[in-house]
Amino acid sequence: MSDGARVVVEAVGLCKSYRRGPEEVRALREVSLSLRAGEVVALVGPSGSGKTTLVNVVCGWELADAGRLYWPAGAGGRSWDELAVVPQDLGLVDELTVAENVALPLWLSGRLEEGQAVAAELLVRLGLAGKADRLPAEVSLGERQRAALARAMVTGPRLLLADEPTGHQDADWAGAVFDAVRRLAGAGSCCLVATHSQEFLARVDRVLTLRDGELVGAPAR
């Protein structure tokens, strides 16, 4: 990745607070960052540091109290080509099989036929080909997590946001997940991955560290 790579999204001064009982939690404090095409960026920080809130604000699932998001190339992260998310609770549709879940973005955006080959390839790479016709409830949690990743990748989004995508993977599958993320970035996408995994961290381009809702900059590597 060169420093001149296209900016996919830029966040300026994001703030977000919420109430937990009587307490006001400042989940994000003036977070600014810029994500570029082709890079894999890790988002780290202890539990409660604001990682999930940042992911949710960038993808538009939560609104920031202050600050702005700029999408130089697109319509604000609202199209299937622009943005895809692997949420922590995965967001699979219970009534759809693994293969149908993976193909869902293609189906809803009316390009099932052209995307079929990509979907099939993702199923194979992520070890789901043998489970394609099962419902999410009929496969393991690790398989559900990989299905959610495949579903997020199937449209080749310019920005992939993934919240702990190796949280339920053993070492081999964590490697396969990383390879899939790297391959997507190689095709020009930006991948922002909230993670605790040391193996993952050793292989990313850049690390963003959140502490108490503040971005503290990349640690020495």
């Binding site: 993808c59 538009g60 699932w61 949420p87 549709v93 809803l108």
Partner: protein
């Protein structure tokens, strides 16, 4: 919907038994429940925690299989089917709404996409304008679930469940996490949905839900205690002749033995 005797009954349960095996032994969640849920109407299932409401609803919705007994939805028997066929029937005939709004929705799909997905699954109509209008979501088509209030999320869950007009939608305490204004708005919507031809069966602790229901089923200790149509609640007698006495009456029988006498067509139950 097949044109058979089920014309006025959306779903029927006969002799439903559900046993769970836990670390501490067997739990008999349902002990032989019979119930007929009327078509195109709202039914409430009430009872204290642990009475078997959720077990009954999950079986009714085809999410769980009974240990024994039968469930028939729109004249189709759910038990004894292959997994694949049960899955297809569930898609076509049944909608389910969970208690937590977030559990019902897919975070990356807009309101319109939720309905589009449901329509494709049921091969239902693709024009949802009227349904969104009915549920007060017409201005929210392009919103994601995270951008909706809890009440709007739950109305969307019902909208998704009724797309394609399935004969039965089952909801487990759908108002439990809503404030009273949002719950009231949801109930207005639920009532309107029943008017379109879908039967709605709601497990609830909420008296407002019971008030709007055409029929109320009272579960206690895994058995159907009473059934109410309108104002009058009638005790249920099962096939073995068992009746559940209300808890306040049970206090009159500390020895748990009763003398039963029949006098001029009336039955008297008293302590010995």
């Amino acid at each position: 919907m097949p044109a058979d005797a089920s014309g006025t009954t959306a779903a029927a349960c006969a002799g439903l038994v559900k046993i769970y095996w836990t670390a501490t032994g067997e739990v008999h969640a349902l002990k032989g429940v019979d119930a007929d849920f009327p078509a195109a109407a709202v039914s409430a299932v009430v009872g204290p925690s642990g009475s078997g409401k959720s077990s009954l609803l999950r079986i009714l919705a085809g999410l769980d299989r009974p240990t024994a007994g039968q469930v028939t939805v729109a004249g189709v028997r759910l038990s004894g089917l292959s997994v694949a066929r049960r899955r297809r029937l569930r898609r076509r005939l049944l909608g389910y709404v969970f208690q937590r709004p977030a559990d019902n929705l897919v975070p990356y799909l807009t309101v319109a996409e939720h309905l589009e997905l449901a329509a494709r699954l049921r091969r239902g109509r693709r024009d949802h304008g009227e349904l969104l209008e009915l549920l007060g979501l017409a201005q929210r088509r392009r919103h994601l679930p995270g951008q909706l209030s809890g009440g709007e999320q739950q109305r969307l869950a019902f909208a998704r469940a009724v797309v394609g007009d399935p004969p039965l939608v089952v909801a487990d305490e759908p108002t439990a996490e809503l404030d009273s204004a949002a719950a009231a708005a949801l109930l207005v919507a639920v009532r309107a949905l029943a008017g379109r031809g879908t039967a709605l069966v709601l497990a609830t602790h909420d008296p407002a839900v019971v008030r709007l229901s055409e029929r109320t089923f009272y579960l206690r200790h895994g058995a159907m205690e009473a059934e109410a149509t309108g104002r009058e609640a009638l005790s249920v007698i099962d096939d073995a002749g068992r009746v559940q006495l209300p808890p306040e009456v049970l206090k009159l029988f500390p020895a748990r033995r009763a003398r039963i006498t029949v006098e001029q067509g009336r039955v008297w139950i008293g302590p010995p």
